[in-house]
């Protein structure tokens, strides 16, 4: 490993909030753990916005550096650590897209069309049993996403990946605000129900 710091996330018992507090007093191992824990989901998220992997990795690096340098400003009352990281990643990604003049054509890659290979490989190395369970869970999520009506999925994608507010989504899709709110809430609830059903069946 080039930097010599161990990958601590699988065994590090510290919760995300403790890690951010440790980062506030310049604990590099806390940053390493937080990165190991969340970098893969966030890179997956970024790749839906920025398909060029090298660009997405640059944004990932910038986002974690920002987290490191502004850890003292993190307010646990306002968001969870993962939401905070996602917010910075999304903001950096949109900056990057604007800088490369692609913002005009900005549209997130669909939620259900990503390959599972990386996530699969990563998990199978870490814990084969957990991997099998997670793989089934991933399939369930994809299946649930495909089952959503297109209008609901579009609204969720615009909120989740582009961080557009409900009024902005309503304007972009030319729909009433109330309709957009219902679609997003309804879509998330349907996904949740599908996942719960899957979990009950698999148990």
């Amino acid at each position: 490993m080039p930097d010599g710091l161990p990958r601590t996330s699988p065994i590090d018992p510290r919760a995300d909030l403790e890690l951010v507090k440790a980062m506030q007093v310049r604990d590099e191992s806390a940053l390493a753990t937080l990165y190991d824990r969340h970098s893969a989901p966030i890179l997956g998220f970024l790749l839906r916005l920025i398909p060029q992997r090298s660009d997405a990795e640059s944004v990932l690096l910038d986002a974690f550096l920002q987290a490191w340098r502004t850890a003292e400003r993190f307010d646990p009352a306002r968001s969870e650590v993962l939401s905070w990281l996602l917010m910075m990643a999304r903001s950096r990604a949109l900056d990057s897209l604007r800088a490369s003049a692609r913002a005009q054509t900005l549209a997130p890659v669909s939620l259900d069309d990503a390959a599972l290979s990386d996530a699969d490989q990563m998990r199978s190395k870490a814990d084969p049993e957990q991997h099998t369970h997670q793989r089934e869970q991933d399939r369930a999520i994809r299946s649930a996403l495909r089952a959503l009506p297109v209008a609901q999925r579009d609204a969720i994608e615009l909120a989740f990946y582009l961080g557009l507010t409900h009024p902005e989504i309503a304007e972009r899709l030319g729909e009433p605000l109330g309709t957009i709110k219902s679609r997003i809430r309804g879509g998330l609830l349907k996904l949740r129900e599908s996942l719960r059903f899957h979990n009950e069946v698999s148990v």
Partner: protein, 270 residues
Amino acid sequence: MTSFSRDELLGLAAAYATGSTTPDELHSLTIAMAKDAELRTEVARHQEVVSALLSAHAVAPTDLVRHRLLTQARVDVHRDTASTQVLPDATRNATATRKNLLARYAALAAAAVITLGLCAEVIRLRERIAGQTAFAESIQRQLATSEATMSRLLLAETNLTLAQLKTADTVRGPGVQVFFDRQKGTAVVHAFRFPEAPAGYRYQLWVTTIGPAREVVRFSIDRFGHALVGDVMMPVNLEKEATMSVTVEPEAGSAQPTSGAVVRGSVRGT
């Protein structure tokens, strides 16, 4: 500041979970969640789905991203440590001196003894001066190279295009300036504030117009995180808009970028 009814706040829980609230909405939700368990539960329900979505699409980044992140974090820590050490030490010493005059006199007496050692110190200093002179000469050589480069740039003035490659952190982050002479098709590449590349790796500059990225030049940085490379042949005509980036690659170079861009920027040759 807009005020929201409880039903409206419950309706905003999904927006909160997807990170798509307006500042007004976020503020109101934050206050309301502190005292409303049902609202917290509603938010948690949606966050559970968002986490599952993220988890299903996880993609492991390359090791180099982690290396670069932790290297930069270390640089930050060292810089912070260096900038905070001087004042407390000086303050402590001053306090100690005031508190113990006897120790001060003892120190003066000791100074007489130390004087005896000064001759040896002078010899050591002479050796150091010789070393510093050699260093100054090497700096002079570097300056001469820089001056020659600057002259080339001035001569090409009317045909010159400047591309600036940077990160979002333009104050502390690395950067590259590419001075492109449109007439000759050559460039001068100036890199600064770069972290040390891992052992066995160098930096590689790329240009992309249409199709795959093309290598421009490979470079290593000096101990100040700096590199200046002159007379670089540009592999493509920059008449149309192009993107330039620098990545970390194995010493022998890569045919295509294999890691994330350290810096990037765009350029138009005409």
